[in-house]
Every structure is written in C-alpha cells, then in structure tokens.
Symmetry: C2
C-alpha cells in the first residue's frame, strides 16, 4: 500500500478543476467516495462524489483501457456489490483514474461531460445488503446502558473478550432522507403488555462498515488480512424503540425494537481516503485482557482504529417553525470503539461464517466517556431522568413526531485535507 505521506491522491495541495471542490469541508478530491444515484428519467448507476457534484462513472469507464477500465465499469454499475467484491486493487485503480480526471487539465473536458449536479440526483443504497450485522463495540455505551438495565452488572464478563454482535434486519436499511415511521409494538405495563406506538424512540450513533471481498463457508478471515476485506465506511443510525426492546429482548436479543428501520449515509468512504486518520485503539486501557490470538494483530491494534469526529444534530418541527437552526446534541469520536473494524471482520468469520460483498456491519453505538458525547438519547438523558433542553425551550427525552436527526462525521489531521462522510438524516413520522 502507498504510504499516506507520499500518496498523491492524499496530497492536500492537489487541486481539482471542479468548481467548489477545493476546500470543500467534506468532499474535496482527496475523498472520492462511491455512491449509487439516479436522475429524473434515468436508471440507477454508480458515481463518485466531488464537491457538490457526482461523477457519472459510466461515462468515464469506456475511455479507460485494460484493468482500470474493467474496474471503473464495475464501479459504474448499480448496486456496487460486484465492485466491492473486486477488492482493494480495483478500488485503487478507480480512485487513481477518477483523481486524474478531476485534477488534470487535459482530462477536464471528459470530466465535465460526466459531472451531474448533486441537486439533480437522488441517492440510493449503494449495495444490495445480503446480511446486516450490528456490533456492540462502543464500550462507553455498553457500560452506560448496562448500568441502566443491570445496575449491579453493567459490563458483562464476556465484553472485553468477545466482540459482541447480533444479526440485524437487512430489508429495512434505508438511505439518508427516508422518513422513519414510528413503530408500534408490545409495551409492558402494570396490567400486562399492550400494543401501542412506541413512546421511547431513540437513536444510536454508529459507524457502518461495508464488506468487500468475502470468504468461503468454513474459511475464516485471518486478522492479518481482515482490513483488506473492508471496502468502505458510512454513518449508521440504528433507530431503537427502547420500550419495545425492554420487553422483548430476553432471552434472544433485540428484534422488533430495531428492525423497523436503520438509516445509513449514502457514500462509501474508502479506506484509501481514511488512511491518514488511522490511529491506535483508545478504548483498551492497560490492564484489560489481551485479545485472543485470532483477534490480536499488533499492527491492527497500533493503527487499526479510526480517528473520526462524530456528531448528532437535532431539529424539531417547532424549531423549524420558529426559524431556529438544528442543534448539536452530541459529539463523539470513532476512537472510542473497543474493537477495530478488522477485529469485527476476523471475529465474524472466525466460526466459518461466510461474509459476502455488500454485507453491512454496524459498529455499535459510539459514545464517549464524558457528558455531551453520548450516542443515544437513553444515555444523554440518563435513562430519561435528565431531559435535554433545546433552543426555543422544548425538552426531549425521546423522539417526537417531526424530529429530524442528522448524524455527521469528518476526519482531519495536520498535513491532510479534511474529509467528511455526508449526512445521515431521518425524520420521525407518526
């Protein structure tokens, strides 16, 4: 792999001819995430975001020769599963070719012919998601929520050994902007359960991982190779109905409390773009048990975590009616994950379970250790005992109709261009 310090596609001084791309807070030419989009009257197809434009890769691919042309054609086809399956080499070729088109004057005419204004496009799920798995790697979330559900036993004995996860619902993963219908469900009460709209509707701030190349059944992915199986990242809001969850989750875990909807940001942020922001794990303090060997690659522990700023923003219907802007209700960082993405991949496949290209992992809720960094309202309100006060004077424990939640993420580091993930938004209906 190219060293981030000498990778020309990461050089912060590189300029693009695309209007507004240089200095774009999220999508300068150093980012170049993949997406699937459509415009009125056209089919869904693969693109890359640059500034406030999309590069329509199907118009670039025929102009490339050999392997880069083949890789670009895969990246131009929706859904992106086959492109993700093609692995890091194909992804790198597409990145370098797109970077050339977007930076070289002699390719500007070609590039301009393939630029679509973002405002004209609808963004879709980038992949057909075969399986969606949700991990629980945010240790501060696990401790805080555990202390609310099990005051005597907040962090279970397996937590620091096992990257805890569970299977989620793939059918209800939706792209940013999709309305979120408040679920009905069984809610416990003094006279027995009743079936009613959930009253404790919450968010979970998570990082999403896209699986690239998969593995054959019965053939685990070694930890040393696991990072190469991750094709990209997104933001993920694991909407959660806490009252449904509390009643249904024993003994087999969350089910209908989660399966009504999971929102993701539509861009596949590549490992290439994120390489400057790899860091050591922050959440495994000295004295914690060493990972078992199948999870214990020293290189992964030294550089396998990501330093990513994460934020949760809220806008209510009343705030919008009063002309008030959205307000930030949490700021966290992906460094607070106890397990790295590579450890999640190695663990998931360690029993021989086959991962497939386009599978989606959620990281688990990424709360920080301090007040104001909570990844869920359950935590932020201390189990609804301390409601949030919003601009305009409203208070919130859980989400109300018309509440609009936006997750945001960006990375910055000295000597590198800042890159962002794009919004992961959903508004509560009902």
């Amino acid at each position: 792999m190219t060293d981030p310090a000498t990778d020309p596609t990461l050089d912060p001084d590189m300029r693009s001819w695309v209007p507004g791309a240089d200095g774009h807070p999220d999508f300068p030419v150093q980012n170049l995430p993949h997406c699937v989009f459509s415009t009125p009257g056209t089919g869904v197809r693969g693109g890359m975001r640059i500034g406030d434009w999309l590069l329509d890769l199907g118009l670039i691919a025929p102009r490339l020769q050999g392997e880069p042309g083949t890789a670009m054609a895969l990246a131009a086809a929706a859904p992106l599963n086959a492109f993700l399956a093609a692995g890091p080499g194909a992804r790198r070729m597409v990145r370098e070719a797109a970077f050339a088109v977007l930076t070289l004057d002699q390719l500007r005419a070609l590039g301009e012919s393939a630029l679509v204004p973002l405002a004209d496009a609808t963004l879709h799920l980038p992949c057909a998601i075969g399986d969606y798995t949700d991990f629980y790697a945010g240790i501060h979330h696990a401790v805080k929520v555990g202390s609310l559900f099990r005051p005597d036993n907040p962090l279970l004995p397996n937590y620091k050994h096992v990257p805890i996860g569970y299977h989620g619902r793939a059918s209800s993963v939706v792209p940013s902007g999709t309305a979120i219908h408040r679920p009905h469900g069984q809610l416990a009460g003094p006279d027995g359960p009743r079936f009613a709209p959930a009253e404790r509707l919450d968010i979970e701030l998570e990082l999403g991982l896209w699986i690239g190349t998969g593995n054959a059944p019965g053939t685990p992915i070694p930890i040393q190779q696991a990072a190469d199986h991750i094709a990209g990242y997104c933001l993920l809001n694991d909407w959660s109905a806490r009252d449904i969850q509390a009643w249904e989750y024993q003994p087999l875990g969350p089910f209908l409390a989660k399966s009504f909807a999971t929102s993701i940001s539509p861009y596949v942020i590549t490992p290439d773009a994120l390489r400057p922001f790899r860091t050591a794990q922050a959440a495994r303090p000295d004295g914690d048990p060493a990972p078992l060997p199948y999870l214990g690659d020293p290189a992964d522990q030294a550089r396998g975590a990501l330093a990513l700023n994460l934020e949760v923003w809220l806008s209510t219907a009343a705030m919008r009616a009063a002309g008030l802007p959205e307000t930030r209700i949490s700021a966290s960082d992906a460094r607070h994950l106890y397990w790295t993405p590579a450890q999640m991949v190695a663990h998931h496949s360690s029993n021989g379970c086959n991962l497939r290209p386009g599978d989606l992992f959620g990281s688990g809720t990424i709360s920080g250790p301090t007040p104001g960094s909570e990844g869920s309202l359950l935590e932020a309100t201390n189990g609804s005992k301390a409601p949030l006060t919003l601009p305009g004077g409203e208070t919130r424990t859980f989400l109300q109709s018309g509440d609009r939640i936006t997750l945001r993420a960006w990375a910055e580091a000295p000597g590198h261009a800042r890159i962002g993930f794009g919004d992961c938004t959903g508004e509560i209906v009902g």
Copy 2:
C-alpha cells in the same frame, strides 16, 4: 379458497401416470412442491417434485396460455423469489396446471418430455434469502432449555405474550446435503476464554416458512391476512454450538453459535398441499393469556397450526462402517408450536418491518412434552447428563465428526394422501 374436501388436487383417489408417484410416501401428485435444480451441463431452474422425478417447469410453461402460462414461467425461473412474490393465486394456477399434466392421459406426452430423474439432479436453495429470522415458538423447548440455563426462571414473563424471535444469518443457509464444518469459537474456561473447536455441537429441529408476497415499510400485515403471505414450508436444522452460545449470548442473543450454518430441505411444500393438515393450536392451554388483538384471529387459532410428524435421525461413521442403519433419536409434531405461522408473520411486520418474497423464518425448536420428543441434543441428554446410547453401543451427548443428522416430516390424515417434506441432512466435518 377451495375446501380441502372438494379440492380435486387433494383427492386421494387421483392417479398420476408418473411411474412410482401413486403411493409414494412423500411425493404423490397431491403434494407437488416447488424446488430449484440443475442437471450436469445445464443451468439452475425451477421444478416440482413428483415421485422420484422432477418436472422441469420451463418445458411446460410455453405450452400454457394467459395467466397460468405467466405464473408457470415464474415458477420455472431460479431463484423462486418472483414466483413467491406473485402470491396464492399464481401458486394455485401452477398447481392446477401441473396436476393436469401429471394426471391426464392426453397431457402425458408433454409431461414425459419434461420429467427429469431425481438421481440426475442437484437441488439448490429455492430462493435468494433476503433475511432469515429465527423464532422461538417451541414452548417445550423454551421451558426445557430455560430450565438448564436459568433453573429459577425457565420461561421468561414475555414468552406467552410475544412471539420471541431474532434475526439469523442468511448467507450461511445451505441446502440439505451440504457438509457442516465444525465451528471454532471462544469457549469459556476457568482460566478465561480460549479459541478452539466447539465441543457441544447440537441440532435444532425446526419448521421453515417461506415468505411469499411482502409488505411495504411501515405497513404491517394484519393477522387476518397473514397466512396468505406464507408461500410454503420446509424443514430447518438450526445447527448450534452450545459452548460458543453460552459465552457469547448475553446481552444481545445468539450470534456465532448459530451463524456457521443452517440447513434446510430443498422443497417448498405449499400451503395448498398442507391444507388438510391444518389444526387447532395444541400448545396454548386454557388459562394462558389471550393473544393481543394484533395476534388474535379466531380462525387462525382454530385452524392455523399444522399437524406434522417431525423426526430426527442419526447415523454415525461407526454405525455406517458396521453396516448399521440410521436410528431415530426423536419424534415430535409441529402442533407443539405455541404460535402459528400467521402469528409469526403478523408479529414480525407489526412494527412496520418490511418482509420480502423469499425471506425465510425458522419456527424455533419443536420439542414435544414427553421424553423422546426433544428437538435438540441439549434437551434429549438433559444438558448432557444423560447421554444417548446408539445401536452398536456408542453414546452421544453432542455431535462428533462423521455424524449425519437427517430431519424428516410428513403429514397424514384420514381421507387424504400422505405427503412428506423430503430429507434435511447434514454431516459434521471436523
């Protein structure tokens, strides 16, 4: 719907010209399940089992006119998701057309041109499974396993109110005959966990449900319509590593203990064929709480359960070497499910979760109330305290390398032809 008593496709006196079909214990002309198969040198395609033959539906469809021809073309295409999506009307048309071809002398030449000997065919998964959900509706299993894990609290307070379920892994659902690789995983021990091959490898005897027409996100399926969304049934073996499960399952439920493999029988047994075997729920005794209204269709409770004989057979490598036949280790009945298939569909969609054609449900382990009817080895051996003794003198608590498990199911009732499901087999490797 046609009354079973007057439905000509269920008439036990109807004869087929197919050699060996009449009196076939599992696949007489009254059954006619769907499947996906291939033969050497040909692609995968849709068929129906009759006797020890498969009817290649792609050779029949072009000879049919109008809607039946359209429906038959869907049933001829692999995977069967689009056919299942077409709903009960299309399924009925295909059943009636195939029944005519297989029973009428004047259509015999057409039928003979489309018959493939079963011995020449490889059977595949019938559908591309979007999501696999595993329920926990076998109450005798829940009580017995609960008493092993939580002696003081075997059946949790939610059990008789909520059709408990969890999301399973779709990628590792495999057709009968696929070898099952023993998983490695974290096993708890006195000196902390170690990563090793699972030692407590078990089975779970389940009924599988295939979802036909789905529902839009945010639009639950009413209980009164839920049965129409079930396109068929199969057998399902939810292989389970109990030692991995015991260590990993708190607080979010089973994960790697299950995701290495789930075996299913390859035939989609239709609700039409099973209509004579619908029965009242046996497992909800007087005094139990009434289902909440969203689960409480009286017609479903009166006739929504299935009377199905279920069996587990075991053959070990040593038994085969000694020329000993497989031995039956359990006999149960689908009537022991506490929740009906329709209740599972209504509950799953009650929060607005969208089901998609080709989704697979497992019923949960179907144990009976008496010794010899256990759906898992964990139960049959009373938590491995009472090993099974096999022909030839071997004993078993959990599965050994070379052990071959076969699930079987059949239905019979006075005045109706007996029909069967076909084997669900898997042999342990490693």
